[in-house]
Symmetry: C2
Subunit: 713 residues, 2 copies
């Protein structure tokens, strides 16, 4: 039996150590803020109210209330406390731990008096002194999510507390402990094998039910097979079939889901090295093969959807994952800097067919064998692997983000990564493990719509790249005007200046001086904006077409390229500018719809070599039939273009292609006419069955500044 407790909390700082009600799960700084009337953290730079609390110790306490049947054992159970803590019963310390991702349980039975106060003492977050104070460097000797320390989309908030499910549990001899079912399927997919493990003093029965609830197995063998199992597929490739298991005895039962799928990481279709001697290695494998089918992975980078992680609910996950599925995504990269979600997230991804690239909690830092870091990492990683390995959605493990880049300084010889490789091998043998992203062949970036250094606009950048996987890239934009009004004082809204509010919300100094606000890029195309509305509309236009152009180009590069994963999907608070598809809390940005178009399983696509065009130039577009569906596709496209009032009837093309493959078609061309007042060339690919596309690129009549209109999305 589980018994949830009522908690109160306080800072141990004598200047502010009054008790206040604590929400569990939650974050104690948030409880403190509520009790002390902090101003809205979303507005301006109000998050700085939390800075003075950073070095406080904190305490939770509760007077235990539960029904104790004599003979039963009593445990304190937590799925996660953040970050260094001690568990005390009536003042006696029974357990100490560092790390927020491994659950722990502490037996209380013999220490109970009948009137018991349980205390959770939270230490301040570690702050490594190897690096720059006040930055993510402070996380480089711990398993603490480095985003807490400040990132270019997350304000610095060193939150802590009882952040995941936590309760008192009484256990009789019928208690079923450590119950886990793991499934795998034979190479030819014909036979599934289930391995079951648990500890119980009583005999237990094991059941496996198919999706219709029909019994597939009932018995007591801890290993059994399932013939011709229905397979688990990711979104777009088939049904994410789950089987339900039950382990039970006369008084208790455990239940859960498993899926049968075979997943490997294979080398890309024409993985390359230098063609002639001296000759290096070929590119690292990054093509997902699911159930013996190579697939293109399309998705986004997931980060914590709230600033206060303890407040995240299953419902928050549900709405965000639903939107990803509707966007035709089949993968999230679970970016290492933001730790891992609560387990309900994985259950939903199992159900919805969203693959997960799961990173450990390392990002952009040089983690080394120093102090007790290796032991903490082993504890946390072991906990994570055991917690999540049964999920069919979990595609592969990864050491962390950008560890093989100059700003991190790690490499294949780094002990923490060798440890993670070893632990995954031992505890989760069949699941691939990557040291980091990017590996050889893969790439991160760019994160701008236009850069001369990077070879032009986003279409040019990716059309001229030949990477095996684009696992981060972004196209920034200002948030919409309504959103900006929520977070920026009215008198700072326009013209945009580098104020505290804009800076706090990542408009400035998040990355470079103003990469996310990116007014310089706007002005390159549109000149000086006359209003915030005009500026936002132009930036959103670039972001929409930029994201679409990038994603469609990555798909066109299949099978040499096997992944397109943008930075980022969601963000944990309202930002003034950024790259996210879904604004906080779950507001759909215009670019989401363009990504959704680009990710449709089957569509006609146009490879347009750049964004901006001028009167008199020859506009061109290479036609493609893209098909990620597991069936062959065919269709007819009618291509027309429009500039101002003038229309061009360009081509009809009928095409067909196999499952999970594309067809490259003809290139259409026409000379851009004079069209005073027009600012768009609109290329329309008319087709049936939802395969149509329409591109709006920039057009300028000679010597005219285009008149910008609100973008229709």
């Amino acid at each position: 039996m589980k018994f949830y407790q009522s908690w109160e909390g306080r800072s141990c700082n004598p200047e502010r150590n009054a008790w206040f009600p604590a929400t569990v799960p939650g974050n104690i700084q948030k409880d403190y803020a509520v009790a002390n009337g902090f101003a809205d953290v979303q507005f301006a730079d109000n998050y700085k109210q939390f800075v003075p609390l950073e070095n406080d110790h904190w305490e939770y306490r509760t007077t235990l209330k539960f029904d104790h049947v004599p003979g039963e054992k009593v445990f304190f159970v937590t799925h996660g406390i953040n970050y260094r803590y001690d568990i005390l019963l009536n003042g006696e310390c029974l357990f100490s731990y560092e790390g927020m991702f491994r659950g722990n349980e502490v037996e209380l039975t013999d220490k109970l008096t009948g009137k018991d106060v349980l205390t959770v003492h939270i230490h301040p977050h570690p702050k490594s002194t190897r690096g720059k104070a006040g930055t993510r460097d402070e996380a480089n000797e711990s398993c603490n999510p480095p985003v807490y320390y400040g990132w270019d989309w997350n304000p610095r908030l060193l939150i802590s507390g009882i952040w995941d499910d936590t309760y008192i549990e009484t256990r009789s001899d019928s208690y079923i402990a450590n119950c886990e079912l793991l499934s795998e399927v034979s190479d030819d997919l014909s036979v599934g094998t289930v391995r079951c493990s648990f500890d119980c003093a009583l005999p237990c029965e094991i059941l496996l039910l198919d999706e219709e609830g029909k019994e597939v197995y009932r018995g007591t063998d801890k290993q059994f097979t399932v013939n011709a199992p229905a397979l688990w597929w990711c979104n777009g490739q088939g049904n994410p079939t789950l089987y339900t298991w039950i382990v039970r005895n006369a008084r208790e039962e455990r239940t859960g889901k498993i899926g049968f799928r075979r997943l490997r990481l294979l080398r890309n279709a024409d993985a390359r090295g230098p063609k002639s001697f001296p000759k290096g290695r070929y590119e690292a494998p990054i093509t997902v093969e699911l159930n013996n089918r190579r697939i293109f992975c399309k998705g986004s980078n997931w980060v914590n959807p709230e600033l206060f992680w303890g407040e995240i609910t299953k419902e928050r996950y549900e709405e965000l994952i639903r939107l990803a599925k509707e966007c035709h995504m089949n993968i999230f990269r679970m970016w290492g800097g933001a730790g891992t979600p609560k387990e309900s997230f994985y259950d939903i991804c199992d159900r919805e067919g969203i693959l997960l690239w799961q990173e450990f909690v390392l990002a952009c830092n040089e983690y080394t064998d120093v102090g007790n870091y290796m032991q903490t990492l082993e504890n946390e990683a072991t906990g994570m692997i055991k917690k999540f390995r049964h999920h069919p959605c979990l595609a592969f493990w990864c050491g962390g983000n950008e560890l093989f880049n100059a700003w991190s300084g790690m490499d294949e010889q780094s002990a923490p990564l060798r440890l993670l490789n070893k632990l995954c091998y031992e505890l989760d043998y069949k699941r691939p493990f990557l040291y980091t992203s990017p590996l050889y062949g893969m790439a991160h970036g760019g994160y701008v719509f236009y850069s001369e250094d990077q070879g032009g606009d986003v279409m040019q950048q990716f059309q001229n790249s030949r990477n095996t996987a684009y696992t981060e890239f972004g196209v920034p934009s200002l948030s919409d005007v309504e959103t900006l009004k929520q977070i920026i004082p009215a008198d700072e809204l326009f013209p945009i200046k580098e104020t505290e509010a804009w800076t706090a919300h990542h408009g400035f100094k998040a990355w470079g001086r103003s990469r996310w606000v990116c007014q310089d890029v706007y002005e390159r195309y549109f000149g000086t904006p006359d209003s915030l509305e005009e500026l936002v509309a132009g930036e959103q236009w670039m972001q929409c077409e930029g994201y679409r152009g990038a994603f469609e180009e990555m798909r066109r590069q299949w099978p040499h390229c096997s992944m397109g994963i943008n930075w980022d999907y969601n963000e944990p608070w309202i930002t003034a500018a950024g790259n996210e598809l879904i604004a906080y809390p779950a507001k759909i940005n215009p670019c989401y719809y363009y990504v959704q178009k680009a990710m449709r399983p089957t569509l006609f696509s146009a490879r347009i070599p750049r964004f901006d065009w001028k009167e008199g130039e020859t506009f061109e577009a290479e036609l493609w039939l893209l098909n990620d569906a597991p069936e062959a596709a065919s269709g007819k496209v009618h291509v027309t273009a429009k500039v101002g009032e003038e229309t061009f009837d360009l081509l009809e093309w009928s095409a067909e292609t196999d499952a999970n493959s594309h067809k490259r078609g003809p290139t259409v061309r026409f000379v851009l006419p004079r069209a005073e007042g027009a600012n768009k060339v609109i290329l329309t690919l008319s087709a049936e069955n939802g395969m149509e596309s329409e591109y709006e690129y920039l057009y300028r009549a000679k010597s005219r500044k285009p008149v910008l209109r609100q973008l229709n999305v």
Copy 2:
């Protein structure tokens, strides 16, 4: 007490199962050949005499002779039996094992009758059917050295037998088992730590003596420190200081050597990735840092120095390692296809300061989790790690050769490599581990003096490459005339044709049709040869200057490039043509002396852009002062050139440079004169203290075939 036995052997094939005397250690096929009067294996294609024996089972037997004090235990001990075998006592099988590199011991005590016959039953070599029969593919499911199955420098010879030290050992309660001392030094090199482990029923004392025999430690602590230890350095960087340890009790003692050194693999000085977005990872670390000093590793690839591995003696190792040291080498790459030597090899390398890049026994095949391969690999790798990890010369482990290339098909996700990474991490934490060679940034090849595809001659190839390490590359030549006469029938010597003898000795079809004979490359420069002597002289000239040009260029690319390791150092039999510096058995090829010149710690070097020059062209050479010594260097060079009778006094240059660094100097230029009959432009860099160099490159007067003279070496 150890008791060596007299052995006899036989094939179990009823057609040829007569007993014959067997040499232990040795190879049973060789014993059979001696007993049956096989013709000289070196000559022509006589090695094919062994092919019919490939699938035989074999047996060794001995009637045990040893002094057995009552109460003592009796063991059969072997350091290596090749490859699958059973140990039987009086017909009863006591032990079975697969793998030649882990030693084993089998207790006999309770089975002894007083009149005992011990039998070693050898199974035929495994032949995987996943691949092409009769090739190295047959080794892809075992830990058998794939060279046995045939390589482009090793004839196919599936040898087996008791190949390493093997005896009966009696053990009383004073026996000291599993004795191992491991040493490490603190990061600042100030404190050495020694960890000692052994099993003995009696108390034992531990001694550590320095190079002069002075006691540094005496006591019974299994861990102790040594303040300010004298460090172990590799050749050219300092003294390879060894300490002697003794573990002893009243009746027995063990002894061995350890050294104190700190070795890491670091990223190269300007490890690169793409400069702009989309941005990948930087190059993999491959710079050796020894005792906190980054060094350039120069050396060669080591392979088995005999066809019959059981016959290899410590003396063979001594002469070959001595020559490497005299060549100024500081590293051998212990190429995975050829397994590992006997342990005396490592003792010598410890003493002489030769670092070892030690590969496991995987090469050019796709090894996967199939059958019992993973278990065999774990057994063998564990044995190798425990056997060799105490050696200071052992720089780092490596999974094997060219596993991340198309002809192998493995990658980071390959289970055998993840297992090796795990084992090295667990058993030898501080020693680096590479998955394979080459990794990202590194390169293998080329292996020709000239190739249009590869960008020209060997000087051009490497001057236009920017790799972090060149860990295999070769410049082939015919063997000298005297050598060829030993192995090729007289009537086939010239003109060279693709006969059985030439093919057997790797002149033809070893790699491509005739890559090693490379008469086509000769003819590109010299036209049709009139004699074998002329052909050999021309090829040796190319090989000598080619190797020198390559090695000096790699050194000039320091610190971005941190290794130059040619293919190969030695070979196991007489070849008609190849890349080796030392011909079988220990005959110095002319190119050895050119490599020796190129590897001198300090020298003046000329970067000459290509090998062949014509009258009227502007010859040029960029001057460098190369210095791999651990002290600063300086000197003055006087540069002159000579073509036919004409001499050019070009430049004097004084230069100095720091320890382990180079100085780039001026470029000299002059127009090549008409010099009928001359075939060389000789560039002389006169200097003192052994820093001088002289380059002989090809010169042609217009429309004249150069008259070739014997090369003076």
